[in-house]
Amino acid sequence: MRATLLSATLIVSALQLIAQEDMTQVWTTRLEHKIEYTGTDPNPGEDNISYAASDKEMTVFRNKDGSTVWLKAFKDIAPRLRKIDELIPFWESNTVFLFEKKGGKDVVACIDLETGAALWTTEKYSNLTDENVIYVKEKDMFAVSTTDGLTMIKARTGEELWTTMAFTGAVGKYIIDGDDMVCVNFVPGGLAALFKGFKNQLARIDLKTGKLKWEATYVGRAERKVVTRDFIYDLKLEGSKLFLMLNGIQVYDYVTGAQQWAAAFDFTPEGITGAPAHAKKFGVYGALAQPVVDGNDLYVLDMGNRKSQYVKKYDRMTGKLLWTSPEIKEARAIPGMWVADGKVILQVGGLVETQAYLYWRETQSDGSVITHEEWRVQYKNIKPCGVQAFNVSDGALAWDSERFKKGITNAFIEDGRFYICSGKALYCIDHKTGADIYEVPLGDDGVGNANAIFAFTDMVGIVGEKGVAMHRRTDGSLSKSNKWKVADIESRHDRMLLMKTEGSDIAAFDLNNCAYKQFNARKGATSTLSYDGAYVYVYEKKDVTKLRTN
């Protein structure tokens, strides 16, 4: 009996050791220069390349083995370059833009990533950022937006096809349809003052000539996220209708540009949570659920009024308002909306994403000044919280749950049931009636309060404050859990979930068994998960390390 117990203890200990081991290093390479700029090819492929650069030199290496493809000083790539101030990769075109800012006479060089050869250089463009340039893959051209207009440039030669001032601001989300591009404009961050006379534009541009076939206006701010640069809206073309999902929905005739109807409401989420100290740029995202389409029906949240919010149902083809729900009083955020089995279910309150760019200068005791720069993605819990459901037939309140007043996670519908956490407990709810199917406390998980949940195989995955737990969806019972450190989700690829602490430590959790492998990085290290989640690339000081996540 004693022997059996001892064996069992040893096995459990061994399993725990396995579950908490460090990530295996595939390779490490020490570069000849410090690392200030990094880029890991986000596209699938086994023989991709990545780069690391200082302000004077750049190394491109193979992801497979870390071997150097080329190492060059910028002055040798383009004679007009000395020290770069900005580097923007365009992975789809295999090019990188290098910028040297020279007070209004910036040098821009377009470099071939595979060879390091300069394709073209120009001194025409000043104050460009990654927001001002997009690569139009379908035409192998760059669209560059400046205060002097929008210019279409052939990617490999720098040949400018046309310039127009009819389109102001930068190109946001776009759709290519043959030789036409339909796009939304926006003011690049920090450059609002430069784009005088800016007006919200949705335009259909003939890419061959630069002429606008039509232009229309739209409601809202079609911006990108501060750190991850994702667009916060969507643009879709369906037959002859163009749908812009921004602050609701705005529908246009694709042929003429005439607005057919709109259910868009003025909503600025920045006020629902404060910006961190030293924030130069700040944004709040995901506070308002996107419109939900169900056949020809469209459900939109009206958050235009701070005191009262509503769900509105429209006929998606005609724009006819079919009903308005009763007031959803004083909701500051409604991050989730689902339509299923005759009900519209709302998640009121919960986690919203904040992104901030911080910059500050600190004077030391010896009088020297240190500048700090930080890009921060965080999640904030916004109250009040709750779950409400309305009938799709008439908009009447079907049920309302009070049990999430102290906290709420995101939610999902699977197996015809609604899953959500209060933070301390997992709930499975029959969304048709609001009745609990089960309630399971999460105290035994040992990972702190639940921050977020997700569906994985037949499980509910729970991302806690300090780890990950998996519960069976059938009855909510705990399957596996593993405690780590206080961390946020960095990214997820299928069964690999990458968590990152404020100190840049990372852990990759295998969702099949909750085992994780970790890597203790230096504070400020940059880590990027490979396209398939199988590897992490860590960039710190002069070293690049490739680690296996499982």
Binding site: G149, T163, M165, A166, K211, L212
Partner: protein, 121 residues
């Protein structure tokens, strides 16, 4: 061609009179707009624009400009349908008349597209 012969002096006369008075005439006919724009560009070149580059042979070849002019007489879009110039010169020629304001205007809300062939030298 006859139409051009008739319209050209009329357009020039209008431009001269209006510029003397500091006003911009409003033009209604595409042929007149085209002619006025071509003349203005020809005048710029005649006055010595890029003369050194042309003389040295650095600027040599042909280019076709397509200008879209908005109602205030300002060039809103420049498109180059064809060119035999080196790329740096093609880009420079395109930029030269981008945002240029001609000495005429168009009816409110109206736009005109004109094509201007240039030969260097």
């Amino acid at each position: 061609m006859n139409l051009l012969r008739t319209l050209l002096p009329a357009a020039l006369a209008i431009l001269c009179v209006s510029s003397a008075r500091g006003q911009r005439p409003e033009l209604y006919d595409n042929a007149v707009v085209q002619d006025s724009a071509r003349n203005a560009i020809a005048r710029d070149l005649h006055e010595g624009l890029w003369s050194e580059a042309i003389a040295s042979g650095e600027l040599s070849g042909e280019v076709l400009l397509e200008l879209t002019i908005e109602d205030k007489g300002r060039v809103e879009t420049v498109f180059i349908p064809s060119s035999t110039l080196p790329i740096n010169w093609k880009n420079k020629v395109k930029d030269q008349w981008m945002d240029h304001r001609f000495a005429f205007k168009l009816p409110k809300g109206h736009k005109e597209t004109v094509t201007v062939p240039l030969h260097f030298p």
